[in-house]
């Protein structure tokens, strides 16, 4: 950030192979984007993004790998598919955003660590029990994120409705499920 402007010296940070990498991993032809802006016009999350969806597409074309993989936008995309539905070039924009997350994890460039933590705890719960244990997931997220009171205001009404499960449901095939998760993720527990 200089003089209030977010200037990118694109000639200095260009990764020439990045477009092809993203296109190969996502199966989408990002190079065909001509900046109509339909994706950003459809996006309900632009107000929390650092770069709107159409700019992410342009930055891919410009090979700005580091800028993109460290951007907030790729982690705040909710995969609602509005952009994908409306792209006139038939680019599955949501899938491209998803691919960028995978590449960010691979590159160790995750900037929204609490969101990644939530996903990690979710998958650990799946690996341990075979199904997600909502109560345990929230408890471990709260503890590890340093935000122990997250959703504490909801607890009384959930309890009153008899919806607060205190024990997980362990499926018989949880070892098989844990093995699937382990093929893609380090640190998953051996068994529940």
């Amino acid at each position: 950030m200089k003089n209030g402007q977010n200037l990118l010296r694109i000639q200095e940070s260009r990764d020439a192979g990045f477009v092809e990498r993203v296109e190969r991993e996502s199966g989408q032809r990002v190079s065909q984007c001509y900046q109509c802006g339909n994706c950003s016009a459809s996006c309900a999350y632009t107000h929390v993004y650092d770069f709107p969806a159409n700019q992410i597409m342009r930055l891919i074309q410009l090979g700005q790998k580091d800028v993109i993989l460290r951007s907030r936008s790729i982690w705040l995309c909710a995969q609602c598919q509005a952009c994908t539905t409306r792209c006139p070039c038939n680019i599955d924009v949501a899938r491209v955003m998803e691919t960028l997350r995978v590449l960010a994890v691979e590159a160790g460039a995750v900037t929204q660590k609490d969101i990644q933590l939530f996903y990690d705890e979710f998958l650990k719960s799946v690996a341990a029990f075979g199904r997600v244990f909502e109560t345990g997931l929230l408890a471990s997220y709260n503890m590890k994120s340093g935000k122990p009171m997250t959703d504490a205001d909801l607890a009384p009404q959930v309890l009153r409705k008899g919806k607060l499960a205190l024990l997980p449901h362990r499926i018989r095939g949880r070892k098989e499920v844990a093995a699937i998760v382990r093929r893609f993720m380090d640190g998953a527990p051996e068994r529940g």
Partner: protein
Amino acid sequence: MKAKPMKRTIAYYPGCSLEGLAEEYDRSTRAVCRALGLELVEIPDWNCCGSTPAHSYNPLLSAALAGRNLALAEEAGLDTVMTPCPGCLKALKGALHKQGEDPNGFQDALGRPFEGKVRAVSVLQLLAERIGPEALRKAVRRPFRDAPVAPYYGCLLTRPAAFAQFDDPENPVSMDRILEAIGCAVPDFPFKTECCGATYGVTRNPIVTRLTGRILDMAVRAGAAAVAVACPLCQQNLDLRQAQVEKAAGRRFRLPVVYITQLVGLALGLTPEEVGLDKLFVSPESLIMNLDAESETADSLSNAG
């Protein structure tokens, strides 16, 4: 009880939400299918589909986790898997898509045999296509007396269109037709497929209060007395988190958010307990007052065909 033709037997995949915060969606789905003669067989020992977290790691992880459930259904000799949850549905359809796109990668990730001769549908699709609004209308015993109910589909029921292959991705109408068939008045609702904020309720709560607030506001402006939903996550954001939304917006909504299966069940003559109405956070009492007295003229569905 009359023997049902085999083709009506459907593999049932509830998904994790329906064991927890969305237990009334599970209860009402089972009750409605039973009342309409659709036989559900729960997939034995089903596992989590992996949801968004699995996708964010690797689409193959998502495909393998969802694929195990499809494989178990196939093993049980069933060719249709129904799930009420649109998130699970996207994962199941994604698995079938991935199998076609990358059969070897998929097989390695899954680690058990799967031919892929299974299709995945939502409970809404089942009601809209296997039963249909006309047959449903004939089976109704207690129609809603023109209660205005906004149909909220959320993001994933009909999208991405290439996967979903059901209804319209921009202006879906299947739930509208079902609501009309059970006697509801369906207002024009421009936010049918707007996003509610998805899983950010926990990690980025202001996103959900803002986006869900807009949906509730539009429902009120459209004159709705309730919102009909078909997604456990949408329901959680609109109902459980309605108090959080009200606090952020500085206004009261008190708008009941009811599963489409609960509304259909009530119209079919099931009791509020049988569809788990007491499990909703915002009281749906005002809506129930709109139910007509039991009508004895309704045909049972088995007679209707």
